[in-house]
């Protein structure tokens, strides 16, 4: 499933981008958690992707102003993120930890957050946020009795109650059931469409693939890749693209395809043809032509490793 193509245009954001990291590093003694990372994030949904321990949470905490960069700068909305409580007027944070105040009800919790933001009509803002996450029915129950997904939704409501321009979510879909996940994804897409900047971290490829137009891949503290993941895939020219074909006569088609210069390797498995090609576009044009010329009917033609999974494993191994 491809994500909606949402072009990242740091050039278009001529005014200061919402998030800007320049040579940001963070180390703990001898261990470097984040290693000289620079990127900018603009409006839309950006996914921070990486294996556990890669540094995604460290980066998010730095952007949220809860970690000081050991070197380099982390700027949010034009100013440094560190020691700058003013940024929170425009920044909402959904932390990863499940802990909430168990004796407060959902409504009271969101209201508390609204009041701490000094919102003029705090109760209305709280109700709006609660309605947006679909928690109106359970809002007067104590949060100690909430399920994990309900807590997550209330945390989300608390983060958006002040209508922030920038939303940071740390592993937001952990433990969410599929329906909740879809609801939250829809909500995030809506908010992004309004021009907000949304950054979320995840190690689950499928989530990032569905939701994020722009992806930042963090591996071992370094920025391994950034941009639209389809584009990233195109750029990885030294790794052959894989296609799966089904046809009327696989063997004949295979022997014909081998002759084509874009083909690097062919494998016959069961009733499928796995073709490795060096040039994505070139092969896509050549294959139907070759099939026609050999008199073979093509039933199926799929690029098989377009998923973020393959992109990801490629980058991790590099």
């Amino acid at each position: 499933m491809a994500a909606e193509p949402r072009p990242v245009s740091p050039a278009a954001a001529a005014s200061t981008p919402p998030i800007e990291l320049m040579n940001a590093s963070r180390w703990y003694g001898n261990v470097v958690a984040v290693n000289n990372i620079s990127f900018t994030v603009g409006p839309g949904i950006t996914g921070l992707l990486g294996p556990n321990g890669a540094g995604k949470s460290t980066i998010l905490h730095m952007v949220a102003g809860f970690l000081k960069p050991s070197s380099g700068t982390v700027d949010v909305l034009g100013g440094p993120a560190w020691r700058n409580p003013e940024i929170y007027r425009q920044v909402g944070l959904v932390p990863e930890r499940e802990a909430v105040y168990p004796f407060l009800t959902g409504y009271e919790f969101v209201l508390l957050n609204a009041r701490l933001h000094k919102l003029p009509a705090a109760d209305q803002a709280a109700m709006r946020a609660i309605r947006a996450v679909g928690m109106e029915d359970a809002r007067h129950r104590a949060m100690g009795g909430y399920s994990k997904g309900m807590k997550q939704r209330v945390k989300f409501a608390a983060a958006i109650v002040h209508d922030p321009a920038l939303l940071l979510l740390d592993e937001p879909f952990n433990g969410a059931d599929p329906r909740q996940r879809l609801q939250m994804m829809d909500l995030l897409r809506e908010m992004a469409a309004e021009g907000r900047t949304i950054v979320f971290s995840s190690h689950i490829l499928e989530e990032v693939e569905r939701l994020a137009g722009n992806v930042l891949v963090i591996v071992a503290g370094r920025l391994a890749a950034s941009g639209d993941f389809h584009e990233i895939r195109r750029l990885m020219t030294d790794r052959p693209h894989t296609f799966t074909l089904r046809s009327g006569d696989n063997r004949r088609l295979a022997s014909a395809l081998v002759a084509d210069p874009t083909v690097v390797g062919i494998e016959l498995t069961d009733d499928r043809l796995s073709v490795r090609a060096s040039d994505f576009g070139g092969f896509a044009l050549a294959a139907p032509r070759v099939a026609r010329a050999s008199g073979v009917t093509l039933f199926e033609f799929l690029p098989t490793d377009e998923s973020l999974e393959s992109v990801f494993s490629y980058l991790v191994e590099r």
Binding site: F66, P95, R97
Partner: protein, 242 residues
């Protein structure tokens, strides 16, 4: 708001009830004392044994320790402190709210305990100044203790044990043995203030630290503790390697 929130967190659970029971102990002891042996010197006993020994040395630090370290410390440990800190609020607001939330129940318990037990013990004597002296002293002392313990809870996740070591090893043993270190003991400040106000002879009660230096030190230590706590909180970092 943070004040109300924290008060709700601190009060109304089982430990709080135990606190109330502890607060009742001095009162009980005072009653036993009055009932059992009427011809002891009340004033001396009240000042040295009851108020200094039981309340100031034992009850006061324990109560302020529990409330002081839990007010902010439990939030930091649980992870809910994030919600308070990710707001456009100056950190001084957060600290002062937490400090007030710790001090109010602690002071309430300590003062009630002091008043009632001292009143019972000193009944019929002219020792009203002792009562006044210890009232003021414990009110101020509990505040300074709370400042120190709130600071500890910002500095370390082992705040309570550190506080216990401070109270029972440092204040309990070291400052008793080495009199020069008295200036670093909140207990001595408290006793000094009590001595200043209580109008008693040397035989009845005397603190190791003079009243005026005690007050000055209280102000200095309290302000310093709060200042450092605010500074550290504005540089609050999520702990550990995530």
């Amino acid at each position: 708001m943070i004040l109300a929130l924290t008060l709700r967190q601190l009060v109304g659970r089982r430990p709080a009830l135990l606190m109330v029971a502890f607060a009742a102990l001095p009162i009980l002891v005072a009653i036993i004392f009055r009932v059992a042996d009427p011809d002891l010197s009340h004033e001396r006993w009240a000042a040295n044994v009851l108020l200094k020994g039981l309340i100031v040395t034992t009850f006061l630090p324990l109560v302020t320790l529990i409330f002081g370290t839990m007010a902010l410390g439990s939030e930091i440990e649980d992870g809910t402190a994030v919600y308070l800190l990710s707001k456009p609020l100056p950190r001084s607001h957060v600290i002062s709210a937490k400090l007030a939330a710790a001090w109010l129940p602690a002071a309430l318990l300590v003062l009630l305990s002091t008043e009632i037990s001292a009143a019972i013990a000193l009944q019929g004597t002219g020792g009203a100044s002792i009562l006044v002296g210890f009232t003021v002293a414990t009110a101020l002392g509990s505040f300074v203790y709370c400042c120190v313990f709130v600071l500890l809870s910002v500095l370390t996740s082992h705040a309570l044990i550190a506080g216990l070591i401070y109270v029972f090893l440092w204040e309990g043993v070291v400052t008793e043995l080495f009199s020069g270190t008295r200036i670093f003991s909140v207990r001595q400040y408290t006793l000094g203030v009590a001595d200043l106000i209580a109008d008693t002879s040397r035989r009845t009660f005397e603190a190791n630290l003079g009243g005026v230096p005690a007050l000055v030190l209280m102000a200095v230590v309290g302000a310093a503790a709060v200042g450092v706590a605010i500074r550290r909180l504005s540089r609050f970092e999520v702990r550990g390697l995530v």
